[in-house]
Subunit: 292 residues, 2 copies
């Protein structure tokens, strides 16, 4: 079975990109041309989300290494929404994109095993995000199923929201911040998933909005790929995300959602696809300029 991190490195090198496009579609921002003449029950909305995502995927496939659908925006429309979530993943894979399901699951071991099977066994998802709050035994089922299926997991370490300081930054009795302790655990958990690329298929979520923290975390987790949310709409800049990369120019993938998929802002704009293409191309180049 292939190693997820090795596959990720291969795609990054081939495409000369470390862009992940977050598929968090907002109904009121979806272009009129896709929304028109549809009633708004859950099944129609799910169809609209899928049509929009397919259009976005077609545009970004040449410039991005992967997509990251955020499950909440699909669960919001019940099982119809969940259906379009899975169909979106399938379409992205068909187009050669890595799929990272942003589900942030985490639970007691027997339940974590069910979540691991739910998301890491099907072929259309390459990796998921995992919430570590329940401890080591809640992570192990994800590690096991990822290993068996050549899949990846990204553990939340330092998230991009302002409130991440509330618990993740708490100072422990040894004077260290909680997230640095957690980073040490992540580095250990990741050992058994290290591939030929020297990167582990167990990575970390580290927000783009805290460059100093990213620098500290980079040295604590040299083998981890960072999944970096917060670029663009949330305020993270390319010069800041430089701290998330290793000296080999690898070790991070950068996610932008709204600033790419809704780059056109005005849903009536006829050339909305051009705006999306411009945004993803510009983002790709902006990041490449800073990590070279």
């Amino acid at each position: 079975m292939d190693n997820f991190a090795d596959r990720l490195v291969e795609v990054i090198r081939k495409k000369q990109s470390c862009v992940i496009v977050g598929l968090d579609p907002r109904l009121d921002l979806i272009p009129e041309s896709i929304r028109s003449a549809k009633s708004l029950d859950a099944s129609s909305i799910a169809q609209i989300l899928l049509s929009f995502n397919k259009a976005i995927i077609d545009i970004v496939a040449d410039y991005a290494v992967g997509v990251k659908p955020q499950s909440a925006f699909y669960e919001q429309y019940g099982w119809w929404g969940v259906k379009s979530f899975w169909e979106t993943c399938a379409y992205a894979r068909e187009k050669g994109l890595i799929t990272i399901a942003d589900v942030k699951r985490g639970d007691v071991p027997s339940t974590a095993e069910a979540y691991a099977k739910a998301y890491l066994e099907p072929k259309d998802i390459d990796a998921i995000t995992v919430n570590p709050f329940l401890g080591s035994d809640s992570i192990q089922p994800f590690v096991k199923v990822a290993k068996e299926n050549g899949k990846g997991i990204f553990i939340l370490v330092k998230t991009s929201n302002a409130g991440s300081k509330d618990f993740q930054d708490k100072i422990l009795n040894d004077g260290k911040k909680f997230y640095t302790f957690l980073a040490g655990q992540v580095a250990l958990w990741g050992k058994e998933l290290v591939g030929k690329s020297s990167y582990s298929s167990l990575g970390a979520v580290v927000g783009a909005t805290f460059p100093e923290e990213s620098r500290a975390l980079r040295s604590l987790m040299p083998e981890q790929f960072f999944l970096v949310p917060g670029y663009g709409a949330q305020g993270g800049k390319a010069e800041d995300i430089k701290a998330s990369f290793n000296k080999d120019g690898l070790g991070a993938v950068i996610n932008a959602s709204r600033s790419v998929i809704h780059a056109y802002q005005d849903p009536n704009r006829k050339d909305w696809k051009d705006a999306v293409r411009d945004a993803v191309m510009k983002m790709k180049q902006d990041i490449q300029n800073h990590i070279r």
Copy 2:
């Protein structure tokens, strides 16, 4: 709009029970009579889960105050599974049961808002579990939507698994354990959801497996309802869960999953329903005996 905690207190008093039945069905343990003559694609499995859950709900409706479907066991079967999750919730509500969706969601504010709408706006779910790892701003959207819709949320504070010690028990620089700090936050967050019963619709998940911790947490969160997992199969005993209650005999609901819904163990057993009924009746009485 009714307050969730007030409704919960009313049902507890009426039924003289604080039992929640966890609907975490395992396909290989579902009675042959329900599984027979069905092919095992995701749609058939979803139908089997729903049929089983309906049978369980019919049996436990007189003895339990509510049910807690664990989302992972449905997500495992894709959108078909999610469909049966929602249909299960609808059926349980029809039968007068409180429905607690065990989804343990938690995300950055804009995404948390989507999750809150997904689970706290539809009528068939009364309350959900929430993971606090992302901090205060990730909790606020749940509080807002819960308030607007008379719904409840249970924040993870101390989970029932052995690994809960890894992060939840970390000692902070003031000498306190992390979960006691978190409990203080939960008590504050809950203030704006306190009902006429003096209980808040913002409760806490506190495992049955750590009675000493429960005692400490009870005094830190006097207004919180505790959702207590871990009774039965996970080793929690009625004498231990006594620590989760206030002196008024209220303040906790106790969940058992496997030890009730798969009480018969042998799926070939013809009188499996009797075993389930015995288990839920015994659990109800066992707990009532200890809290009087």
